[in-house]
């Protein structure tokens, strides 16, 4: 394992903090009175400042300090956060991020401008005043202001290897502490036993933590000490700050260490000590490098394959104990697989968070007020998938705001609320995850898309096409109906890229629209990229996998359909479904099996029948990508390893449907000619 550069650790930590900060700021825009949010934002800022200084990011520290100063007024309730302040604060956040990530490409002029803007919210007089009183502010909101503690350790405690100062430090992590050393018991120098602890401490802890949290601090020494613990009520809080200067000033403390370590009154009003609470959450989670998870997944994949082989051997064996072990291992492998996959799952909410900023900025730039509603943030998806979904979703959201949502005038003319709405939702549907982006704008202009498609020669003029089919043209490369090209959209690059990205994730994209009511784009995605449920089929001698998520139904091919060579269509309960004979598609010589089976596979709204020799059964397929050398192979999206150790190819249903559609179109053209 390599040791990480400390600066990288900071960058990583900062990235998390920025996310929390941005979220808090955006929430604050909607709920300006929520103190919790203000505190969250403040904590994030404070940690960035502290760690930044620690890791030598001095510019970050000093800028953040200014930012924090401004924000402190908000925290004290002197300034109400409003839309403008949030915007400036977001800009400031971006600037700090730039300072950390690309220090060379930023300019202090930008920073100064942001600071000037921020300072507009602060009267110059306040600035000095509030700094001195910072630590008392955040606790005022809760009913309990903290605890008054008296600590008396057994005087043997130093001999046992405990250092009372460590416990004081731990207390400081709970909240701002006012620590007073009680030196009453310290004997005269000639009687002083240097290994004994004679000090006691009075601690005023400003924190909304409960008693148990305090007891936790002293968990290991509770037998060796006396702890008195009295709650302070909010009202008393202000009066409880004792005049500490007297207590410490007159005495010269007998032990050097006490002087160094125990930060008593004069220092304890530094705000630095206080907001460490965010650390507590970290205990239950561990940061793991993504590559390690990938590696683990690979190993589990191999285990699943080995287990399948074992299962096959065991099935052929008469030995009951072997069968039992094989079953046991099957169960273990399955649960190990689920756990590993679970470890790679990330709630999609982390992605939605980013869009709030996007929508905030876009709605400002375009002058269209837009609200964002998200649901299903808890829906979990594979980490890789989340990362690769970000760009397509950004694109869909931009489209929705730029093209979908009308401007205020048009909206009120159409009798709609002036504020447009974009809903992003996620949810499970079987083994798939559906992510939808819905706007309540004008909807797609089907006629214009049609005209454009005819103009580009994608559709014969006057040809009959369903609305659904016409909307598919949106996914053609270079297709854009926007009459003006804006910075955001209208260049015609985009929807095809979105579609391709989603398909590379083995997902599909659907678009539906109601004129005047809005457009809904639905993405269907598999839960994970690593393992799929597949249907094992045989064509000739070869075995193949059809992703089960694409299979709609299986049936036997009727003799009449089988004989027909003129048409490759099938009547499925009134629908015409084109079909492909996989034997001829794969160039397999010889006579097909006498009872051919048909698998109806679908991608989005289109379906195709695949004619196969045999349907063997379901198969857990660990996906192995095809080699770079086979990049020109389009019919297969990957391969998997079967129980007997041989490789089987996984059919790319979307590609096969494209082939099927292509054939049926060329057939129609031939017939017409």
């Amino acid at each position: 394992m390599t040791i990480m550069d400390p600066a990288d650790v900071f960058r990583q930590e900062a990235a998390d903090l920025f996310e929390a900060l941005e979220e808090a700021l955006l929430d604050l825009g909607q709920r300006p009175d929520d103190r919790e949010l203000i505190d969250t934002a403040f904590r994030a800022l404070h940690t960035i400042k502290g760690s930044g200084a620690m890791f030598g990011f001095d510019e970050v520290a000093s800028f953040t300090h200014e930012f924090e100063t401004a924000f402190d007024l908000v925290r004290k309730g002197e300034i109400k956060p409003n839309e403008d302040l949030i915007t400036v604060a977001l800009a400031a956040k971006d600037y700090i991020r730039a300072l950390i990530e690309q220090p060379d490409s930023t300019d202090t002029i930008i920073g100064d401008a942001i600071l000037d803007e921020l300072r507009r919210f602060i009267g110059p007089n306040d600035k000095a005043a509030f700094r001195e009183t910072t630590y008392a502010a955040p606790v005022a909101a809760s009913g309990r202001a903290g605890w008054k503690l008296q600590l008396a350790f057994d005087n043997q405690i130093l001999r046992n290897g405990s250092n009372p100062l460590d416990y004081l430090d731990d207390l400081r992590k709970l909240g701002a502490c006012l620590v007073t050393a009680l030196t009453d018991d310290v004997p005269l120098l000639e009687d002083l036993e240097p290994e004994y602890c004679f000090l006691k401490w009075d601690v005023t802890l400003h924190s909304d933590c409960d008693r148990a949290a305090i007891d936790d601090v002293f968990m290991f020494v509770q037998d060796e000490m006396k702890l008195e613990c009295l709650p302070i009520m909010a009202a008393e809080a202000s009066t409880l700050v004792p005049p500490l200067a007297e207590t410490t000033a007159g005495h010269s403390l007998p032990l050097d260490t006490v002087n160094d370590g125990s930060q008593s009154a004069p220092q304890s009003d530094r705000p630095r000590e206080e907001p460490k609470k965010s650390d507590d959450k970290g205990i239950s989670t561990v940061r793991v490098q993504a590559e390690r998870l990938d590696e683990l997944m690979d190993r589990v994949g191999e285990l699943v394959i080995a287990q399948a082989r074992l299962g096959q051997l065991a099935a052929a064996s008469d030995d009951v104990s072997i069968k039992a072990i094989a079953e046991e291992i099957e169960r273990l492998a399955a649960s190990l697989r689920d756990t590993t996959m679970g470890a790679r799952m990330v709630p999609i909410g982390s992605l939605f968070g980013r869009f709030r900023r996007l929508i905030h900025d876009l709605s400002r730039d375009l002058g269209k007020p837009v609200e964002l509603i998200t649901s299903g943030e808890d829906t979990e998806l594979d980490k890789t998938m989340i990362e690769r979904l970000a760009d397509p979703l950004v694109h869909l959201i931009r489209n929705a705001i730029d093209h979908g949502i009308e401007d205020e005038a048009n909206r009120s003319a159409a009798g709609k609320t002036e504020i447009g709405r974009i809903e992003i939702s996620a949810g499970h549907a079987g083994a798939q995850v559906l992510v939808t982006v819905r706007d309540n704008g004008a909807g797609l202009n089907t006629a214009r898309i049609r005209a454009k498609a005819e103009e580009q020669g994608l559709l014969a003029p006057g040809a009959t096409a369903s609305d659904q089919e016409i909307h598919q043209f949106l996914f053609h490369p270079g297709f854009s109906t926007a009459q003006t090209v804006s910075a955001l959209s209208g260049r015609g690059v985009g929807m095809d890229v979105v579609k391709r990205t989603i398909e590379s994730l083995r997902g599909s994209i659907d678009i539906s629209t109601t004129p005047g009511q809005g457009t809904t784009v639905t993405l269907r995605l598999p839960l994970t990229l690593a393992i799929i449920e597949g249907l094992l089929i045989r064509v000739g001698e070869g075995r193949y996998i059809v992703p089960l998520s694409a299979v709609e139904e299986c049936a036997e091919l009727s003799a009449a359909d089988e004989r027909s060579r003129g048409r490759d269509f099938l009547n499925m309960r009134g629908d015409l479904v084109p079909f492909l004979r996989l034997r001829s598609l794969f160039d397999i010589a010889g006579q097909p099996d006498s009872f051919q089976k048909i698998i109806i596979a679908s991608a989005g709204e289109t379906r195709v029948g695949l004619i196969v020799d045999q349907i063997i059964g379901s198969h857990q397929s660990v996906i192995k990508s095809l080699s770079k050398l086979h990049s020109e192979v389009t019919m297969f999206s990957g391969a998997t390893i079967l129980g007997d150790g041989s490789a089987a190819l996984i059919l790319d249903v979307a590609q096969l449907i494209a082939i099927g559609q292509g054939r049926s179109e060329s057939q129609t053209v031939n017939e017409a000619a």
Partner: protein, 157 residues
């Protein structure tokens, strides 16, 4: 040619040697730099890939990786033969556009690991060769036989 010998792990230019694995494919003997060779395994069931180029007709499972199986006979215009007792799969790791790619090569027979040196290198005749010259680094002499040192990167791309 000198350059290739130098590139492929030689000590000095005068006594440049290259360690190679001698393979029999069809009627010819090929010499593959041992640095490319990952392992040599017995034949395993191969899966035909429809739509793949003829010289890469199949994939095989090698230790949990699905890798393409190359048939050099196609590239050198030799007739196909069935697997025999001596048939082996030589697993190579070659560099394609900067990425290491695993590929298996079918060999009718694996002779030995040996060295060829500068002195063995023969000039590739301009005439009398019906193979694509791009596929061949150079031709060397080994036990009174001519052996082909193929350019695998070219052959497979």
């Amino acid at each position: 040619m000198d350059q290739i010998l130098k590139e492929r792990g030689s000590e000095t230019s005068d006594t440049a040697v290259m360690q190679v694995v001698m393979l029999g494919i069809g009627d010819e003997v090929f010499a593959l730099n041992t640095e490319l060779v990952r392992e040599i395994i017995d034949p395993v069931p191969a899966t035909r890939v429809a739509g793949a180029p003829a010289f890469l007709p199949c994939v095989v499972n090698v230790r949990g990786n699905v890798i393409p199986l190359a048939d050099l006979r196609v590239r050198f215009g030799m007739p196909k033969t069935d697997d025999a007792a001596d048939t082996r799969i030589v697993v190579l790791e070659i560099d394609i556009d900067g990425d290491p790619v695993l590929v298996g090569v079918i060999a009718d027979k694996v002779y030995e690991v040996t060295q060829i040196s500068q002195a063995d290198v023969q000039h590739t005749p301009r005439v009398g060769m019906h193979w694509n010259p791009e596929f061949i680094h150079f031709i060397a002499k080994w036990r009174d036989e001519f052996v082909i040192v193929p350019n695998m990167e070219r052959i497979l791309s």
